[in-house]
Symmetry: C2
Subunit: 81 residues, 2 copies
């Protein structure tokens, strides 16, 4: 049993309209001094696979095939437990 | 200048249809042995505020007022740099 924490984030230089919208909303609420907001996805995946290295390999394959658009997104995987 | 990393996740027990959809899609791609998928949001916020504790307080206020629905979501904040 392994728990993988996956972060999918836009690559540097890719426009992030969702982050810009959040930044604008924060400004309207009176939060000044916000230089940038970037929004990504966060997933927690529980797997039957017990070996951490095998679990990481499986999750990397999931990222490439489904979870991330690797043209514009990066992914990072932490495996625990 | 501080960089805050914010995770917004559904509280335990709250149904996660987005996570379930990902789990179903993974199964259709042949990834067996996935016990659960929970999807959350991840934000990177750059602030002019230099003091880490002050930055954390500002970001916690942002979470309560905009970024998280605290009825059903939890948030976690890491402040770096």
């Amino acid at each position: 049993m392994a728990k993988a924490r996956v972060h999918v984030t836009l690559k540097a230089g890719v426009l992030d309209p969702q982050g810009k919208a959040v930044q604008g909303a924060l400004a309207r609420l009176g939060f000044t001094g916000v230089d940038s907001v970037r929004q990504g996805k966060y997933l927690e995946i529980e797997l039957g696979e017990a070996d951490p290295e095998a679990a990481r390999a499986v999750v990397a394959d999931m990222c490439r095939r489904l979870l991330a658009n690797t043209v514009i997104e990066d992914y990072a995987i932490d495996v625990g437990e």
